[in-house]
């Protein structure tokens, strides 16, 4: 039996289920933005964008884009009723000041102590750039990571120690991959859910650090195709 690996959309759906009613969340550039598409309709969740928006809404219909209303990925968005605009300094006061309930970030590597590396592979042939990731990593009350379990060439991204330059030290609370939901607790990876078709040894073989398995470790699945 092969592992019932989740698609990226399914991982986004799974993360969305864990965001509670009333939460204020920041969704990082790239795949984490997809979480917005799956937020349960019966919960009121406020999306923060670091370029000065609370209450960010979905992509506008074609022809109604406003170049002055964009998200952190610089794509056109809308504002929901109750939303607000503010300057960058206030926006990062919200982030660093612990006012965001959670953020969802991508990752190159996550270490078992919660270290996050997501801005640089140390490749000196490319210009560096960090954006707001370091501020989000230290500031949000909960830091959730959305990532493939392994790189395209099959190397593990969950490690004992990150080898890439860090974004933040000991900042990650939970990792959602295409294979598992994994908490970071007391310097260890603790598996909460794992896809069907994979056993503990199979998951550990794809992970660069030892794993603990929570009592009642569940099956990771998504209610979307």
């Amino acid at each position: 039996m092969t592992a019932a690996k989740l698609t990226r959309a399914q991982v986004a759906w799974r993360i969305a289920q864990d965001i509670p009613d009333g939460a204020v969340v920041n969704l990082g550039i790239g795949a984490p933005v997809m979480v917005a598409d799956y937020l349960p309709a019966d919960r009121e969740i406020v999306i923060h964008s670091e370029n000065g928006i609370l209450g960010m809404g979905p992509t506008p219909p074609a022809g109604e884009e406003d170049p002055d209303l964009i998200n952190a990925g610089k794509q056109p968005v809308t504002l929901l009723a109750g939303g607000s605009y503010f300057n960058h300094t206030d926006s990062f006061a919200m982030i660093r000041g612990g006012h965001l309930d959670c953020c969802v970030l991508g990752a190159f590597q996550v270490a078992q102590n919660g270290d996050l590396a997501n801005w640089s592979t140390g490749d000196n042939a490319r210009p560096p750039g960090v954006g707001g990731a370091m501020d989000l990593a230290v500031g949000a009350k909960r830091v959730l990571v959305m990532t493939d379990h392994c790189t395209r060439d099959g190397s593990p991204k969950l490690l004992e120690v990150c080898t890439y330059p860090l974004t933040g030290r000991g900042v990650v609370d939970r990792v959602y991959t295409d294979l598992a939901v994994i908490d970071i607790a007391d310097g260890r990876f603790v598996v909460r859910e794992m896809v069907a078709g994979l056993d503990a040894d199979g998951l550990e073989a794809l992970t660069g650090a030892p794993l603990d398995f929570a009592d009642g470790c569940g099956v990771l699945s998504a209610a979307i195709g």
Partner: protein, 222 residues
């Protein structure tokens, strides 16, 4: 009488020259003072040092200045926007220096300069390469990095409305770095869509009070 409105780019850019340090508002193209950047391009100044979140984006404004080789250094958080190949090219050729600052630290360093703060401690970047060589201090068991204020000779800002006292309102997420940058330069020059009469901006809606603004130039939005 106070009248900060200027009517041509020569007046708007008086004092700018080779080697000028300048803050440029905007997050991507939103809030970027593109016409002021093009006026600087037209004047041929070189060795510019720019403080801006991105190293320009797309075709216009700061992107043109960098393409033309006029910018020596950019202090920014994210120079590698998806359509910023010109940054990679200039950087790879050694023609452009990049200093990377985390976005919130960049914004707060600018604010600190404008607010007369001699530096501040932040948890952002602790344990990363961007904290190397910086003073660190532990408060209540948490490590912080000391960051200095960031000033410039000029701030070039885009806003929506101004009056002749320099009071400003912005448009949506185009506000971004404008209010902080306006505080943090010797001379703040604002490109606005429209100059309105004194008193026409509701005082409760003024985002940047005129005290932070030196010059206003109206460039009708296209």
């Amino acid at each position: 009488m106070i009248d900060k409105q200027v009517h041509d780019f020569d007046a708007a850019l008086a004092g700018v020259g080779d080697g000028a340090t300048m803050m440029v508002s905007g997050f991507g193209a939103a809030g970027a003072p593109q016409d002021l950047m093009e006026a600087i391009l037209d004047r041929g100044w070189r060795d510019l040092v720019v403080i801006s979140n991105n190293a320009g984006e797309g075709e216009r404004g700061l992107a043109q200045l960098i393409r033309a080789g006029r910018v020596r250094k950019v202090v920014c958080s994210f120079p590698t926007s998806s359509n910023a190949e010109y940054v990679r090219d200039a950087w790879a050729r050694g023609a452009l220096e990049l200093e990377i600052v985390p976005q919130g630290t960049l914004s707060e360093r600018i604010r600190a300069a404008g607010a007369g703060i001699g530096g501040f401690y932040t948890r952002t970047s602790v344990g990363t390469p961007l904290a190397e060589g910086k003073e660190q201090r532990c408060f209540d068991g948490v490590d912080y990095v000391l960051e200095p204020p960031l000033r410039a000779g000029f701030a070039f800002v885009r806003a929506r409305l101004a009056d002749r006292w320099g009071n400003l309102t912005y448009n949506k997420s185009a506000r971004n770095f404008g209010p902080s940058m306006a505080m943090a330069a010797d001379v703040t020059v604002v490109q606005v869509d429209r100059v309105v009469g004194l008193g026409e901006i509701d005082p409760e809606q003024v985002v940047t009070p005129g005290i932070f603004v030196d010059r206003v130039i109206e460039v009708a939005a296209t």
